[in-house]
């Protein structure tokens, strides 16, 4: 799948594999994503394997862009691929600096963290379960318009609310599913982009941040009394500052929707609304493709699953299509000019990228 994604990206840019001067490849489940070069051609280029939790794909893109900025290369590739068997994420808790008993007792689980976080958020900010169901229904509707999506069947809000409760208030259909996927992005020096396309998309900023002490984070056997914002807020502020724009300038948004609650929380954490405003924004359809804040126009993780290494590059792919006006049935109207992507997850890491025409 990695090779398929790379071939499509090369064809889109009108370049050959032998033109690629370096690569970064992200994956969680694939030990050695570098194996893809054997399928593409053994040209001897520096090719670096990256795993950085749920921000892997954002890190891959940031590293590829930095390699260009350093001046060492003109043209490179960022690729991500993953394949995950059904079932919740599982690992040895000691690899995440957690004690063994934390796993033995059934506390070393990501879905349970997302349940706790949105349950508390709903309590503090007046968000309701029907809002979570509306977010899922929207992402599945968007996924139905995306030929690459993994789930393409829309569901009624009642069906979503009525599906099996997994981690209160999150039901089965409110979570994304593990699956497999790959995505690739060609990066080049901005001043040479016109050689490859008449409508280049510029990476204005990318930022990766990890949790600070006091953030409410996954895999935490304890939290201090002192509270601070999560890494998404830090990465978002850093990226907006680098790009020299604000949330009000963004036309199309891709957020990490591991579950419906994550999309709701991330909308505020990335500065697109105040805490609690999501209830009305969702009810008014403002997050729909034709709304004021179109979120997860390709169906997000809920319709595309989470192949960790590829997930963030899938977001970039969608933003590029939207900014070029090539998103077909799911095209955001009004010629969007600025796109935004955000990743968040274990072990408390976030990545944000901002792109524009």
């Amino acid at each position: 799948m990695g090779a398929i994604a790379i071939r499509k990206a090369l064809a889109d840019a009108g370049v050959e594999w032998r033109d690629i001067q370096f690569g970064f490849a992200g994956s969680y489940e694939i030990d050695n994503p570098d194996a893809v070069v054997a399928l593409m051609g053994l040209t001897g280029i520096p090719f670096t394997n990256v795993y950085n939790g749920c921000a892997t794909a954002g890190s891959v893109l940031a590293l590829a862009a930095d390699a260009i900025r350093l001046g060492d290369y003109d043209l490179g590739i960022a690729v991500g691929m993953d394949k995950h068997l059904p079932g919740a994420f599982s690992a040895d808790p000691r690899l995440y600096a957690c004690p063994s008993w934390y796993g033995e007792l059934g506390q070393f689980l990501t879905p349970k963290f997302f349940g706790m976080k949105i349950n508390k958020y709903m309590h503090d900010h007046g968000i309701t379960s029907p809002t979570l169901a509306r977010v899922v229904a929207k992402n599945l509707r968007n996924g139905a318009l995306n030929p690459n999506a993994f789930r393409r069947k829309p569901l009624a809000e009642e069906e979503i609310l009525g599906s099996r409760m997994l981690n209160y208030p999150l039901t089965q259909y409110m979570f994304c599913s593990p699956d497999e996927g790959a995505a690739a992005v060609i990066v080049c020096r901005a001043d040479r982009a016109h050689r490859y396309t008449d409508k280049p998309i510029y990476l204005r900023a990318s930022a990766v941040r990890t949790r600070r002490l006091g953030a409410f984070e996954v895999h935490s056997p304890w939290l201090p009394i002192e509270e601070t914002v999560g890494p998404t807020v830090d990465a978002s502020r850093a990226a907006f500052e680098k790009a020299g724009i604000g949330p009000e300038d963004v036309d199309v948004i891709q957020l990490q929707d591991t579950d419906a609650g994550a999309e709701v929380i991330h909308l505020a954490e990335n500065g697109f609304c105040a805490d609690g405003d999501q209830e009305k924004l969702v009810a008014d359809g403002e997050l729909e493709i034709g709304g004021r804040l179109p979120v997860n126009t390709d169906g997000g993780l809920i319709a595309n699953g989470e192949p960790i290494g590829a997930s963030g590059l899938r977001q970039i792919h969608e933003v590029v299509l939207q900014l070029r006006g090539q998103a077909g049935d799911r095209q955001v109207p009004g010629d969007p000019k600025v796109g935004y992507t955000q990743l968040y997850g274990a072990p408390g890491v976030a990545g944000v990228s901002i792109l524009s025409l």
């Binding site: 079932g87 919740a88 994420f89 599982s90 690992a91 040895d92 808790p93 004690p99 063994s100 008993w101 934390y102 796993g103 033995e104 007792l105 059934g106 506390q107 070393f108 689980l109 349970k112 349940g115 706790m116 976080k117 349950n119 508390k120 309590h123 099996r164 409760m165 997994l166 981690n167 209160y168 208030p169 999150l170 002490l213 409410f216 935490s220 056997p221 304890w222 939290l223 201090p224 009394i225």
Partner: protein
Amino acid sequence: MARIPIAEGLFTSMSDDARLIGGRCTACEIVTFPIQGSCPRCPSTDMTEHPLPRHGRLWAWTTQEFPPPSPPYLGPKGDAFVPYGVGYVQLGDDVRIETRITTAEGLKIGMEMELVLVPSWTDKDGNEVIAFAFRPVV
């Protein structure tokens, strides 16, 4: 066949008045659970044992309604699995600890909670493994 704790150094005794053992940084006074070798706030490696209050308030919660992947989970699976609550309980001004809750029903943020020691499973040598949980104070 004996009663053994799920881990050494996690609680002060195996009796009804047992307390969980946290760690306190002697330099900046932050409290962690369990005790760890170095401070997550300042660079100190001088952490001392700090018994935690037995009572606290529920700060955040959810339910666990499907059996977690095993390994690492060692509790009852399949038909024997019983859904449980999970949450953070704030213990005074010391720390918020993540804990299993003895019930998945009737949980509310802010409710008073107390520590209990609970038999969890039998290990391969036939020992009854004792873990901690919190239960709502009614």
